[in-house]
Symmetry: C2
Subunit: 270 residues, 2 copies
């Protein structure tokens, strides 16, 4: 048992869907979350810039006493993560590898669909990781640029013609192709689980990358006997831009109120 | 006659609708455009962050020899502009005052509707400016956060259920209220002119803030005898993120091809 906290960061709010899963399956843990809302989105940054940002995000998180960090940002997971992992003496997990392992385990027909931001699709990181796990797997990726703004505006409910139209337009081709597994390769997308699930049909498994990462984190902590139980875990939230928007939206992603609100920090000082 | 260029900047692509108007009514002028695509959107940033970004955008533009700058960003026009104007020895025009003057001139029933980003609405700047022009004018503002991503994804056409649904949801209350003039307080919105016009009906005047600013810029230059004529003006485009996206979308906003493509610059160095 190790009472130190778990750090989680993302470029913005999306990583809160991973926090939600951690709180569900590791309810005794303390969580420190940082959303780099002043510098979102990371998807378009150069590799050097991403390494700089990631190092700053890690330095801020390490100002707390941590036992592990979950990088809940797909872009960082596929770029700066291997380097930054070497620079820290605690486990640093990403979201891409857990999602790919879960997808490889789930698919029967070896046809895996991938939806993500344009930058993540362009990076080819999911395809590469999936093929390294099982070279027989075929991957078809589809960028879904309207999903993030639609989710952030609460357009997540079945029966909303706006989200249902956009879901159909983006996913029709993956459905026609016959994917039996679909990776939600962006931490915003779990909020669309219901609408996407209804469109794709029951035969298609949806892989929530935040949930897959939370599962691996749990396995990791259990193996090293570092989990905390017998208490209610707490959660503290930080952002680099005004916290009002952050607090308003956080409830949607986290499915609970922020226990202590959110606090703004100046990430450039780290 | 002054052959120096006119600088224009916006957080992204929207300001190109103002460039389109400048090129239409001041065809002899050279234009330098900067779109801060790496840090878009500005609408959700704090005031401090907006001042920092605006100063950097101005420093980049002033690396060219300019006779005037048009800030084609509603958010900056309502936040950082007064401060930054003091820091420069050439005219720096925003989009808010020209739009308000045009709206005050247009309205007969003194009911002016305003649509803009959440930050612009929150700032209260349009209301303040309109009431300073005519204290009898009533203003009703409505934030339309989904318009920018929808426009940037090409959802601008009549008959598209997605944009028509969102337009109806956002504008119904302004229509019911009886606005006879509607300020499009964001440089992306002129692309929705047709859909918005069809919904609001013929009796409602739509004020294109970029066009109103271009008119004032023209008047300003003519008064000081600074306009250039007898030649075809040229236009150079810069962005802070990968220019491929920028070039693809620019044509939609500008209604012409970029004469020299676009060039990427590192705005953090300014």
């Amino acid at each position: 048992m190790d009472e130190r906290a778990i750090g989680v960061f993302d470029s913005g709010l999306g990583g809160l869907t991973a926090v939600r899963e951690i709180r569900r399956i590791l309810p005794g843990e303390t969580i420190i979350y940082f959303g780099d809302t002043a510098r979102v989105p990371y998807g378009s940054r150069s590799k050097e810039m991403l390494l700089k940002y990631t190092r700053q995000d890690m330095r801020f998180l390490r100002s707390f006493d941590l036992k592990a960090v979950l990088v809940a940002c797909g872009t960082v997971s596929t770029t700066a993560l291997p380097q930054v992992r070497k620079e820290h003496d605690i486990p640093v997990l990403g979201v891409v590898e857990p999602a790919c392992r879960a997808a490889a385990k789930s698919t029967r027909n070896k046809k895996v669909g991938l939806i993500a931001t344009a930058a993540s699709i362009r990076s080819g990181a999911y395809e590469e990781t999936l093929r390294a796990i099982d070279s027989d797997i075929q991957v078809k990726g589809k960028a879904c640029p309207l999903f993030v703004p639609l989710v952030e505006n609460g357009r997540v409910h079945s029966g909303d013609v706006v989200i249902e139209t956009v879901v159909r337009e983006y996913l029709q081709e993956l459905k026609d192709w016959g994917a039996d597994t679909l990776i939600l390769g962006c931490t915003h997308y779990p909020l669309l689980m219901e609408v996407i699930g209804a469109f794709m049909g029951e035969g298609v498994a949806l892989i929530n990358s935040g949930a897959a990462a939370a599962e691996e984190l749990k396995a990791h902590l259990e193996q090293a006997d570092l989990t905390v139980s017998g208490r209610d875990g707490d959660a503290w939230f930080y952002a680099s831009d005004r916290v009002q928007n952050f607090e308003e939206l956080a409830e949607l992603f986290l499915a609970e109120k922020l226990p202590h609100g959110a606090k703004k920090i100046d990430i450039e000082q780290y």
